[in-house]
Every structure is written in structure tokens, then in C-alpha cells.
């Protein structure tokens, strides 16, 4: 088994699974100049043929961005200079719904990432974004026949669902939320819109994959998912980028509306390159009896601020967040979750694992607020951290604000090292120390990987193996 593991590691290294890049030039790509000005925002708006309200919204967001301060907590983002970031880069080819029609270089990228194969095997629909725009979008006929809408965001903004998009766009994450939400509002591009009608259960997942290929660029996709009453959806988000020596920025925004008695699972395997500033905002609102499930694996980025938030608005609504973060050399990953309990009988479970290695900094940060109306609510927060050496760092910063006496709140945090006894035991069975440590870390991450579909669990385990061997 270990030989197979080593073999697969070698394969991954040989193929440079995530760190490969394609040349982008003026012939096949359009690139907006670096920086953030009113002219640039207006130009993006014209380029995308925005409706008037969106153009005005973008400009309002730009004003808010200019007025707001940088966050005064969290990892340093001093290395991020917005004047050196191009906020809009797109292929000159239009979006296709057949892989054969996608330009070869871009298609090859997604082939290497295994997206078309995954679509054939196990997905109900796929959206593939390359830099600022989607290059491929498709949904299986049988799912479309159920009335499920899965389309690129630009089409949704102008098509049949334009009013629904306008009603929901940046309502959960208002641009005043923080500086990078305002930035997103000003320059957003790409992303997906999903609508699952009442009582429709989508049996297999939809997936959007975001690839940022251009150096010194930003990706600002917007994902809006509305799961109507009694409906059920699993949505998978994947992201990666090749490594450059200049900073890249990802400031996407995800807004999820979970209807009465509906269920949405949102899974993410994030493996941005280690020059990426990942300042992503994700938020869900759950109505009566609805359920939101987050599964999150954070492996990439130089700096991450990522705390998916759930607003449990309806009575008896619930959420579960399961996350793992692996911080390696040169990484400062600040991740966690936020939850706001409003509905009576609402419940939330936050369960995270954090691993720090080779000087990486991992921080678990959370915020749990229980409002007076959330009587009979239940909260359980558990975070486990593993330190793999003494040059790394692992911090746990969970905040709670409880405003009703009629709730049960439990919190538990643990931090520690790999048990010497466990390593010794495995070594006594003929396993090398390095392999023993990798096996223990995989076991530590098991509670997260078991929540993922098989293919993604395998990918996550491979990422852990790569991180453990220090080859990423």
C-alpha cells in the first residue's frame, strides 16, 4: 500500500497537478490594465453589457471601497497592492457548452484538473471559469428537465431570471460588509446562478471550477444559489491556480438562499497557489426547517480570510460546518465559520481540524451569535489543531455572543502534537516515520474527507500527502 502511495505521489509531482500555466497573449486574451479606478469599473460594466442598475451598483461599490478601511484584525495583507492587480482578464473565445468547442489550451487545463472526466462520471452539471469569465457551462438534460436552472451569472443577469437575480444579488453580503465585499461589488465577473424549484431533489452534485491562470490578476466570481422550499442540492466548488512571483487576488462572493425545509450542501476544495490572497465571502440564509451544510478544505493560498456565515433565520433551521485547513510553508490561513441564530429551535454544529507545518500559520476563527428570539437553540463548536513542528503556529480564536438563557452552548478546543506512542506503534509495524506521520494526519482529517464524494475525498487525501511530503 505504501509503495502505491509513493507511486501516486511521484505521479502527482510529475504531472504538477495544479502548478502548470498557459501563456496568455493579446491575440487570445483581453486584459484590463492594473489598478482600480472609475474608468476601469465602467469599462468592465460596458464590456459585460450590464443593465443600468448593475452599472450604478458597481460605481456605488467603488465609492464604498474607497471609503472603507482595511481590516484591523487577521493576517497581514500588506503584500497585496490593488494597483498591481488586473481585475478583468478573459479569453477572447465565448463560453461553450461542449468541451470540444473550448479552445485547446484552456480545455487542456481543465482536462489536467480532471473536470470533464468528473462531469461524465459523477456530476449533474459543470461550470468552468478561466480567469474572469466562464469558458464552459453545461447541465445534464434530465436535471434541466426537473426545472433546475444552472447558468453562468452574466446570462442569469439578463435572462428569464433577471428579476430574481436583482432581488437577491449582494443582499446577503452587502458591499458595506467589508472592504473586499465592496471591491467584489465593483468588479465582479463570472460565477454561477443556480435555482432549484420547489420539492426538486438533485440527486448528483453540480460543480463550478475556478481557475485563475493569469499572473497579477484578480478573480471575483459571484455564486448565487436559491434552493426553493423542500428542494435539495449538493454544490461543489473547486479552485486552483499556477504559482507566480507576484500577488494574485481572489475576492469571490457566494450567496446561498435555503428555503423552507430545503437542504443545501456546499463543498469546497480550495487549492489556490501560494501567491494568492484569498479574501472570499460566503453567506447563507436558511428558512424554517431548512438545513445548510458546509464542507470546506483549505490547502492553498498565501493568505486566506475565509469564514462562511450562516444566518439561521427560520424556526428549527440548522447548519453544520465541517472544515479542514492545512497551513504549510509561507502560508497564513485564517479560516473558520460564523453563525447567527435567529429562529427558535435552530441548531448549529461547527467541527474543524487545523494542521500547521513547515512554518505555516493556521488560525481557526469563529463567531457564534444567538439572538433573544432563538429560544431552544443548540450550538456545538469543536476545533482540533495539530502542530507538526515548532516553527509553525496554530491559533484558535472562537467568539460567542449569547443573548438568550434558553439555549445550550457547548464549545471545545484542543491543540496538540502527533502522539509519539502512535508513531512508535506504526514504526514497530515496519512503517517509516514519514509514512506514519502522513497516515496519522490523514486519520486526523478523516472526519472531513468522509463528508466528501469519493473522488473529492481522494483528491483531498492526495493534497494532504503532498503537503506532508513538502512537495507542493
Amino acid at each position: 500500500m505504501l509503495d502505491e502511495l509513493k507511486e501516486s505521489l511521484r505521479d502527482y509531482e510529475a504531472n504538477s497537478l495544479y502548478d502548470f500555466k498557459d501563456e496568455e497573449n493579446e491575440t487570445n486574451f483581453y486584459r484590463e490594465k492594473e489598478g482600480l479606478t472609475r474608468d476601469i469599473v465602467e469599462k468592465i460594466s460596458r464590456e459585460k453589457e450590464d443593465p443600468d442598475w448593475m452599472r450604478e451598483f458597481r460605481l456605488k461599490c467603488l465609492d464604498i471601497y474607497n471609503e472603507m478601511n482595511m481590516p484591523n484584525w487577521g493576517p497581514s495583507i500588506e503584500g497585496l497592492d490593488i494597483d498591481k492587480i488586473s481585475s478583468y482578464v478573459r479569453s477572447k473565445s465565448d463560453m461553450k457548452n461542449r468541451w470540444e468547442d473550448v479552445p485547446d489550451d484552456i480545455k487542456n487545463t481543465f482536462e489536467k484538473l480532471g473536470i470533464p472526466e468528473a462531469e461524465r462520471k459523477s456530476l449533474a452539471g459543470v461550470g468552468a471559469q478561466y480567469d474572469s469569465e466562464l469558458v464552459y457551462h453545461n447541465i445534464k438534460d434530465e436535471v434541466a428537465r426537473q426545472g433546475v436552472i444552472y447558468t453562468d451569472f452574466e446570462s442569469a443577469l439578463k435572462g428569464e431570471y433577471a428579476d430574481m437575480v436583482k432581488e437577491h444579488f449582494m443582499k446577503l453580503v452587502p458591499p458595506t460588509n467589508h472592504k473586499f465585499a465592496a471591491l467584489h461589488g465593483a468588479v465582479w465577473s463570472g460565477g454561477s446562478f443556480v435555482y432549484v424549484p420547489k420539492n426538486v431533489k438533485v440527486e448528483i452534485p453540480l460543480q463550478s471550477y475556478f481557475r485563475l491562470n493569469a499572473a497579477g490578476a484578480g478573480q471575483f466570481e459571484h455564486t448565487l444559489i436559491i434552493v426553493d422550499e423542500g428542494a435539495d442540492l449538493h454544490f461543489i466548488e473547486g479552485c486552483s491556480a499556477p504559482k507566480y512571483n507576484v500577488a494574485n487576488l481572489h475576492a469571490g462572493c457566494v450567496e446561498l438562499f435555503v428555503g423552507k425545509n430545503a437542504k443545501l450542501r456546499y463543498s469546497t476544495i480550495e487549492n489556490w497557489s501560494k501567491n494568492m490572497y484569498n479574501l472570499n465571502t460566503k453567506r447563507a440564509r436558511v428558512e424554517e426547517g431548512g438545513r445548510m451544510e458546509w464542507v470546506s478544505g483549505s490547502f492553498g493560498s498565501h493568505v486566506s480570510y475565509l469564514y462562511p456565515m450562516t444566518i439561521l433565520k427560520g424556526d428549527n433551521s440548522s447548519m453544520e460546518y465541517t472544515g479542514i485547513t492545512f497551513s504549510g510553508k509561507g502560508q497564513n490561513l485564517d479560516t473558520g465559520a460564523k453563525v447567527l441564530h435567529i429562529g427558535e429551535g435552530s441548531s448549529s454544529i461547527i467541527n474543524t481540524k487545523s494542521i500547521s507545518k513547515d512554518g505555516g500559520i493556521g488560525t481557526f476563527r469563529s463567531s457564534v451569535t444567538v439572538m433573544p428570539s432563538a429560544r431552544k437553540s443548540k450550538v456545538s463548536v469543536s476545533c482540533d489543531s495539530l502542530m507538526l513542528d515548532s516553527i509553525s503556529r496554530s491559533d484558535t480564536i472562537p467568539g460567542m455572543d449569547i443573548r438568550t438563557n434558553d439555549s445550550d452552548i457547548g464549545h471545545e478546543a484542543k491543540i496538540g502534537k502527533i502522539s509519539d506512542e502512535a508513531i512508535f506503534y506504526l514504526m514497530s509495524k515496519g512503517i517509516s516515520e514519514e509514512d506514519a506521520r502522513a497516515m496519522i494526519v490523514s486519520g486526523f482529517a478523516n472526519s472531513v474527507s468522509k463528508e466528501l464524494p469519493l473522488e473529492y475525498a481522494v483528491e483531498m487525501n492526495n493534497l494532504i500527502k503532498l503537503e506532508m511530503s513538502g512537495n507542493m
Partner: protein, 387 residues
Amino acid sequence: MAELIVNELPVRTINKLSLNEEKLNIEEKSVDNTRYNDIKIVHMPKSVECIKEISNDCVVTIFAKINEKISKKNIEEEIPNNSNLRNSNQVVRTGMGIDIDEFFEKKAIRSLLIKAKENHLEKDVVRLSAKADEYGNVLSRQVIIVPDNSSLTVIMDYTSEDNFKGLVGISTRFYVGKNSELTLIKTQLLGNKTLHFDDVGGVVDDDGHVLFKQIEIGGQKSYVGVYNTLLGDRSKSTNQTGYIVGKDEKLDFNYISVQNGENTESDAVYRGVLLDNARKNWRGTIDFRKGSKDSIGDENEDTLLLSENVENRSIPIILCSEEKVDGHHGATIGQLSQDMLFYMQTRGLTKQEAGKLLIKARIDSIVRDIPDEKLVKVIENKLENIL
């Protein structure tokens, strides 16, 4: 009005939680135009040296060697992610922070030095008492030194007349030498109109142990900060805090345990009850610094919320830059156990009696081994009145 920024978190977090720091407003007239008294020495064992009104320079001299040792251990390493580093200029780091030092300096309040003799092992305790009344507020600073191979117990109680609108402000700094032990007991039983702050900070050397026991039952607004630096190898801190907050009272805590030495141990228990319109903020940090290998940190918070209108904010932080450590935090926040209440009712108690008994048991578990029977009785009476 003096506005002090106190009880800052060692690392900042999401502003919306309102836990990064607290503003403490002190009406200047309460400390300028009225008298303020030092804490009263009720009993000082003969074997303990006591010097009144030592200057800040003197405190700097006392802690010079200790601070040199701290620098050598490089414990002021930078904590990433926007740490609050304002406190680094303090002579002794305290939980409430540098604004309290500056406030005392501005008021020219000097310190009371309490120093046990080397190899002092007497059980006789130092007994201090602060009472705020029409004759004045209390502003007092103490420096407690327990030299090598010694043990010392210091008990302080704070009281004020009901409806007395005044201030009881205390600062206690300590050093626990090698193989020594300090038991520091503070009981706050102030009237419900009194403003209170209590700022504590100290350093524990090799094989030293500080046991800090604290009762907070009263005061209109109370601010408490504790900063233990476990500098020496095998040094240890034990915190036991019990509190009841009721009416429109507010209690704001900041506990920090920095573990520097190898094989250090911090163990903390916080048990409390919120009634009526009470508000409580609790910050607890275990900070494993580089070099603190084989250390253990454990903190447990247990809060009962007994009114619909209470607000409870908590943030239990673990910071870690050392691999071989074991840190743990557990918190339960909620109501009395229905199973336990039911069981007690089956034994003939009314629901109200059962509830009262369970609340008292929480505080009693911290109060019971205070080595001052009279004080224990006073606390029990105060509890009885509140419940």
C-alpha cells in the same frame, strides 16, 4: 471623564463581536474631588516585610532582573495577525493593560510592597481590606514578592455601602520565586452602585506556583484583568473564579496565561451565574510560546444564564507556537440541568429551592477552602441575599 482602554485581547478578532477591548470610563470627580484611600492592612504577619508607598522607579528596580530574564527567553516574540502589542511597555504585564498603570501614575498612587522572607513557610496570612464609603474611594496598588523556597497567602476583600456611587480600583503585581507558592485570594462584594476594577499581573519562576482565587459578587460595573507569565520551567498557575452578576450589572474579564518555560501548567476554572439584565464579557487566553515544550494548558468555563435578558459574550483563545504542548478549552453556557432539578424535586425540594442550591454549590466550590472563616460567612450571607 477619563476613558481607559482596558482588557484588550492579545490578538484582535472580528470587530462585530465587541470583544477586542473594553472602554472603562471613570468620572474624574470621583477620584479628584473626593478622597481616595489605600487598602487597609488588617493583618500582616511579622515574618512578612511590608513597605508603604514605594515609587514606580522602585517597582522597576524590583522587576529589572526578572524582565531581563524575560527578554532573554525572548517571550515578547511577535504574535502575528494583528496582535495588541500596546502593553509591551508595562513594567509588569497585566490583564487590564497599560492604561491602568498610567491612570495610577497620573494620580500619583504609590505601591504597597509585601515581601515574604526567603524560606518563609508560615501559614499566617496577609489580610487586606478595601472599603469604599462616604469617607472616600479606594485606589490601591500592591507589589507582592515571594522569594525562593517560600509560600505566602494574601487575602483581599473589597466592600462598599449599598448605593455608594464610588470607585474601588486595585492593581496587584507579583513575583513568585523558584520553588515558591503564592495564594492570592480576592473577594469583591461591592454595593451595586460602585465601579470596580482589579488589574493583576505577575511572573512565576522555576517550580513556582500561583493560585489565584477570585469571587466577584457585586459592583455596578466590574473590570478584571489577570496576566500570568509562567516564565520558569515547571511553573504553574491555577485560576479559580466564581461570580454572580445580576440587576443591571456588568462584568468584564480578561485572563491571559503566557507559558514560557518547559513543562509549565495552567489550569483555570470559571464558574458563574447571570441574572436579571446582567451583561458579562469573558476573555480567556492560553498562550504557548516557543520553548514551552511539554506544557499543558486547560481552561473551563461554565456559565448559567438565568434570565431572558442576560447577555453573555465569551472568547476562549489558544495561541500556540510550540509543537509539544497540550492545550484544551471547554465551555458550557446554558440553563440549570433539568435532570438535576427533577432529581432534587423527587427528594422533596421545591424547584426554587433546588435551583438555589445548585447555584450556591457552584460558588461554594470555589469559596469553601478560603482560609478565613469570617470572610466565607460574609460571602455566604451575600449569596443568600442575592438569591
